[in-house]
Every structure is written in C-alpha cells, then in structure tokens.
C-alpha cells in the first residue's frame, strides 16, 4: 500500500514540477489523437448520415459489420497497419513505420467506425423526420445538409468525443506502429505501459491522472452540451 501512496505523491510532484518530457508527451498525445479524430470525423460523419438516411440492400449486414468494427481490438488494427507499412509490406516504400503518421493512420482506423456508428444509429432513427421537415420548410440541398448538422450537433459531438476518448486511451495500436520512441512517437499510454513494466509507478500514476483529467473534462463538456439541449 505504501508504494502506491508514494506513487501518488511522486505523481503530483511531477505534474507540478513542469517536467518538459512529461508535457511534451501530453502535447504529442493530444496532437495525434485530435488529428485522427478530425480525419475520422471528416470520413465518418458523411458516411454515417448517408447510410443512416438511405435504405439499401444488405443494410442489416452493413450495420452488423459497422458495430463489430466499433469494438475492434487496437492491437489487431496495429498489426494490420504494421503489415501494410512494414518495409516488406505493400506500403513499405513510404517508410511510415514508427512515425507519427503511422500512429495517426492506426488511430483513424480505430476511431472512424465509432464516429460512423454513432451517427448512423441516430440518423437511422431520427434522420428521416429531420430531413423531411427541412424539405417541407423549403430548404435547398445544402441548406438541408446544414439543417441535419445543426439538429444532430449533439450526437456528432458525442461521437467525436467517444472517438477521441478511445484514441487517447488506446495503447495496442500505437505501440505496434509507433514503437514508443522517446521524443518521436512516445505518447501517454505507451509511456505508462513502459514505466509500469520498469517499476516507475510514480510517473505512471502521474500520466494516468492526466489521462483521467482529460477524460473528465471531455465528459463534463459533453454533459453540459447535452444538458443545454435537453433542458
């Protein structure tokens, strides 16, 4: 028990000491996860809208595959991306393995189904009425698209927040494709995993606290927005 308490004490000391390496890792983690969330949103939101609004053959199968992909294990994604990006892989000539780009690619693959699935699910239920109302009020095509975005802004934000939460907290994919290289591809989760295996609990706890704080702020923001739209 004593070493856990000592770990917490050390953690707070580290956070308050403005350690450059710690803050660099936090900044880099946020950058990678935010970039992949933005790319995933650009891909996932329109796909979610389109597939949710339209009826097509095999829609049932599509939704089953999509929901399965929402829970894909990060290590599997890391492995797949690594197979493609490795020197002998089909995209090996780009030399992307163990770079931040490889990490962004892996996280984008991880996050896109989460955002698409959220949007698809909500659009399937509520999209048709929203779309019809916009049409009967006289909206042109682009006005209808904006109308959909406005009416579904909360679910879009929830999807993005969930995606970001998944990206920032995963360790498997980025460990495989990023390699946890100091000053280059090291992020909060790989840093925690590495220090834990080395017995440096204090610094691991410090990073864990930062991760939890980010998650807390994200959830608070999400809750506030939902509350504002409900009450």
């Amino acid at each position: 028990m004593k070493y856990i308490l000592e770990g917490f004490f050390e953690a707070f000391k580290l956070i308050l000491s403005c350690d450059t390496e710690v803050y660099q890792i936090i900044g880099f983690s946020l950058l990678v996860s935010m970039t992949s969330t933005i790319i995933s949103s650009i891909i996932g939101i329109p796909i979610g809208f389109f597939t949710g609004l339209h009826n097509f053959k095999f829609k049932d199968y599509y939704s089953r595959i999509l929901f399965t992909m929402m829970g894909l294990p990060p290590v599997v994604i890391g492995l797949l991306v690594a197979l493609f990006l490795a020197r002998r892989g089909p995209l090996g000539s780009f030399q992307l393995m163990y770079t931040p780009i490889a990490m962004i690619i892996a996280q984008t693959i991880l996050v896109t189904p989460i955002i698409t699935g959220n949007i698809f699910n909500y659009t399937k239920e509520h999209g048709p009425i929203i779309y019809e109302v916009s049409k009967t009020l006289g909206c042109e095509f682009w006005q209808r698209v904006i109308f959909l975005f406005q009416e579904m802004r909360i679910i879009i934000f929830i999807g993005m927040a969930q995606g970001f939460g998944r990206a920032i907290s995963e360790v498997g994919a980025i460990m495989i494709v990023g390699g946890n290289i100091k000053g280059h591809t090291r992020v909060m989760t790989t840093f925690i995993a590495m220090n834990n295996s080395m017995g440096n609990y204090g610094i691991s706890i410090a990073m864990g606290i930062v991760l939890l704080t980010i998650s807390f702020f994200l959830n608070t923001l999400m809750y506030r927005l939902i509350e504002r739209d409900i009450k």
Binding site: I129, I130, E132, L137, G138, E140, R153, D229
Partner: protein, 203 residues
C-alpha cells in the same frame, strides 16, 4: 393556381396502397381528406409534398410537372410535429431565414403570428419542451410564415383540446382569406374541422 392529381397509384413492396386517384384542388379552398386507417391518406400527402415517389400517375401544378421552385411553395405538417433544436421564435422564423436576409419586417411578422396563435409567451422557450398542442401551433406558424401556396396538414387536431382546435381553425380561415392558400387536411375528427371544408375527398 390548381393542383391536379391524375391516375395516381402507389405500391409499397408490391402491395397496393391506392390506385388511380384523380383529384383537382384549387387555390382559396380548404379540402378535407378522409378514409380508413391504411387507406393511404398520409402517403398521398407525402407524394404531393415530394417526400415520396408515386408508382404511377402524376401530380401537376397549374397543369405542369413539379420542379424545385414549385416544391418550395408547398409545405406539409407532420402528424407528430418535429421541433428544431431552437427557441420557439427561431423555429417559426427559420423558413424565412433560408429564403432571404432577415429584416425588421420578418421579425414583426414572426411576433404577429406568435401573438395570433397565443405563442408569444413561449418565444424564448426551447420548442421541444412545449406540450403537444403548443408544438402543433408552432408547427403551423412555421408552416405558414413563408406564405406557401399549398398547405398540407396531417391530422393537425388529433388529441388536441377544444381551444387549440379553435385557434388552429381560426388561423387556417384567416390565411385562406388573406393569401388564397390551398389547404388540404387529413382528419378523423368529424365534428371540429368539417365546417372548414369546401370539399371532402374519401380514400
């Protein structure tokens, strides 16, 4: 202005909803549409509003086929009103904001319509927090604020109290006289809205 429906037929997954419907509706009149459940009343309105495609037949506006400009002159009020994630005032103003730049005249017009429908006291309230009757009134205000030529109402008074029905009736009559709007209403309620109709069609 007139709306002509020629030999309109609708199938859903090879199942017949209605067949060879012919109707002529003219501006300045209120039409009632009645029929059993599942007879296709709402489907007919949805086809006129451009929300669904017919299997066969035509809907003509002044004897011409519908285009985008005509579609913007038609509005359809759903049976269960959908309230946008905005205040009552912004919900009602919305159709004007997508048509032109809002000026003082539009704001006054919105306030006036809200007063007429007894909605002014809710102007800053979030529309989705209103009661069913109030939402239906917001839906009506939002539908008529841009002065459509054709107003289609799908059971607007279902489960409404007497006062709300009277307010909606008054508003329809007023618009009818002022704008010479073509109004078509689906109703099961034989007592309340019947006196509004110039003609009733049965499906």
């Amino acid at each position: 202005m007139n709306l002509t429906i020629c030999k309109l037929t609708k199938y859903y997954n090879n199942q017949l909803v209605f067949k060879n419907i012919d109707m002529i509706m003219e501006a300045g009149n209120v039409y009632g549409l009645k029929g059993d459940n599942g007879s296709g009343k709402s489907t007919l309105f949805r086809i006129i509003a451009g929300l669904e495609k017919q299997t066969f037949g035509e809907v003509l506006y002044n004897k011409k086929k519908f285009d985008n400009t005509v579609q913007r002159k038609i509005t359809y009020m759903h049976q269960k009103p959908y309230m946008m994630k905005k205040t009552v005032f912004k919900n009602i103003l919305y159709p004007l904001t997508i048509r032109n730049k809002i000026d003082e005249k539009d704001i006054k017009k919105t306030y006036k319509i809200m007063e007429e429908l007894d909605l002014y006291k809710f102007k800053d309230k979030k529309a989705w927090n209103l009661s069913g009757g109030e939402m239906q009134k917001v839906s009506l205000a939002r539908a008529i604020i841009f002065e459509p030529e054709i107003l289609l109402m799908d059971e607007p008074t279902a489960h409404m109290d007497k006062k709300t029905v009277e307010t909606i009736e008054k508003m329809v009559i007023k618009r009818q006289r002022k704008n010479k709007m073509l109004t078509a209403i689906i109703t099961h309620d034989t007592k309340s809205l019947d006196r509004l109709f110039d003609r009733v069609y049965y499906l």
